[in-house]
């Protein structure tokens, strides 16, 4: 166990219960998109705390930099320019792992212990167990994990599980100058969000709301959105994310069913042999063949 003070709720490719005697409080990060100014302090704090330096990229004409999540950029601000009621709105979303309650990456992962979900809700990759197959990418409804080109391991936001384990807030939350990133218990974060949503509604954003999608059992990174009815506005945040039915089929009931079927075929063959006996060349065939040979 990498972090002994964090108990484990689920462990990839493991069919027996994970160590879970302690009941930990569920935590969450709340990203209030309406309070974000796009300063990227969270990106800087993330690389600093986690000690990862992505290569300097190129400017693609928009503020997004780097342009996408990578094995070395675990969080990225995505800038969307949207026109609403004749006014320009600059919607800036801090993208990264959502820490789903029902994580598609963990479901798809074939390597025992490469992905764990702590009892507090954090979904963490343990790269030392990762085999680099990329199934986590296949399973993720948010397109978050990235395979490193250097070591072929999968990486993503850890919600600073190492900080959280010792009672600290994630680095991005610590660094945010406007309070757009809040961290605490999931309950507290929901209460805080309710207040913010009330404010936004008073200011005319009548569709403001919390993004905590039920399709993945809720997330441990939540957004306050001014347009909660249209999350796609925010650089394609999915409106109803869930584990793809194909992934559920593949890593769900197909697994035990297929294993049983293979076992049944093998055992069936054995018992067929035992009960029917071998299909031997009969004495008659031998006699006839010999007779024909001598003709």
């Amino acid at each position: 166990m990498a972090l002994q003070s964090l108990d484990i709720k689920q462990r990839s490719a493991t069919t027996t219960p994970a160590p879970s005697v302690r009941k930990t409080m569920e935590v969450a990060k709340l990203i209030d998109v309406s309070a974000c100014i796009g300063c990227k302090a969270c990106q800087a704090a993330c690389m600093e705390w986690n000690d990862i330096r992505d290569e300097v990229g190129i400017n693609t004409g928009v503020y997004d930099n780097p342009v996408d999540l990578t094995a070395k950029s675990w969080t990225v601000m995505r800038f969307a320019e949207v026109e609403e009621k004749g006014r320009l709105e600059w919607l800036i979303r801090k993208d990264g792992c959502m820490h789903c309650a029902d994580p598609g990456c963990l479901k798809a992962c074939p390597a025992p212990g490469a992905i764990v979900q702590y009892a507090n809700g954090i979904v963490d990759f343990h790269e030392e167990n990762c085999i680099g197959c990329g199934y986590c990418i296949t399973g993720c409804p948010f397109n978050v994990p990235r395979i490193s080109k250097e070591d072929s391991k999968a990486y993503k936001c850890s919600l600073c599980s190492d900080r959280v384990a010792v009672g600290q807030a994630p680095a991005c939350a610590k660094a945010c100058p406007t309070g757009a990133i809040q961290y605490g218990s999931k309950e507290d974060m929901k209460d805080y969000a309710a207040k913010r949503i009330g404010d936004l509604k008073e200011r005319g954003f009548d569709k403001a709301g919390l993004y905590d999608p039920a399709g993945v059992g809720g997330t441990h990174v939540m957004y306050v959105l001014h347009h909660a009815d249209r999350p796609e506005l925010y650089n394609g945040l999915p409106s109803n994310p869930g584990i793809s039915p194909l992934v559920s089929l593949w890593k769900g009931f197909a697994k035990p069913l297929a294993s049983l079927a293979l076992g049944a075929v093998a055992l069936g063959s054995l018992f067929h042999y035992v009960m029917k006996g071998p299909n031997e060349v009969s004495k008659e065939s031998e006699r006839e063949a010999e007779k024909e040979e001598s003709q």
Binding site: P110, T138, A289, E290
Partner: protein, 206 residues
């Protein structure tokens, strides 16, 4: 090595070598592939030097097998074209499985069951190769929908193929005197007469 000059040649050395190259690749693929499919099989990765090595090797072995499977297909497909007699044979497969081959129609080099096996395995290899390329993360990154579809197809085709190979291997064990055809190429005349009478006539002129 000739055991009995009267034995009939069923497979040439090239055919046998081709078969076993495909067979051995298949065993390696099944072992490493099952490891990624269900955690109960994960320890099989140790046969390959650990999970990461199994992940690296599996697709390359797959490409290797696909190549030799195509060669094998070209060698054997003509002999596996289904005929009316084969369908008749398949209709009575219940009797055969029950251990009674007295009423089975006369068979050429391959019976209806073997031909059905040939085509089912061909379909599996095609599906596994295409879907395998789709989910080969280290080399390709197609759209996510295709990857997910590929993962399901790969798993289903793999389970089907492993089950078919179980049947293939068992049929060879069950029918005594068969495995030597793939080891050293020949079968006895009596074996041919009993199981593939039409082929026996063709080979011996009797």
């Amino acid at each position: 090595m000739i055991r009995d000059p009267k034995d009939l040649q069923r497979y040439t050395p090239q055919e046998r070598a081709n078969h076993w190259v495909v067979g051995m690749s298949f065993i390696l693929l099944a072992l490493s592939g099952l490891a990624f499919f269900h955690p109960a099989f994960y320890p099989l990765t140790y046969l390959f030097g650990g999970g990461t090595w199994a992940r690296i090797l599996h697709p390359y072995i797959g490409v290797f097998m696909a190549f030799f499977a195509v060669l094998m297909y070209l060698r054997f497909w003509r002999l596996n074209v289904m005929t009316k007699t084969d369908k008749e044979w398949l209709d009575r497969i219940g009797e055969m499985v029950d251990g009674n081959d007295h009423n089975m129609p006369e068979q050429g080099k391959y019976n209806g069951g073997q031909k059905a096996m040939f085509w089912a395995l061909t379909v599996c290899v095609v599906l596994l190769t295409i879907s395998g390329v789709l989910i080969w993360r280290a080399q390709f990154s197609p759209p996510i929908g295709l990857v997910r579809f590929g993962a399901v197809v790969h798993a289903v085709a793999a389970v089907a193929m492993i089950a078919l190979i179980f049947v293939h291997v068992y049929a060879a064990i069950w029918t005594k005197g068969t495995i030597r055809a793939m080891w050293y190429g020949t079968v006895t005349r009596a074996w041919a007469r009993q199981h593939h009478r039409a082929w026996y006539r063709q080979m011996t002129g009797k």
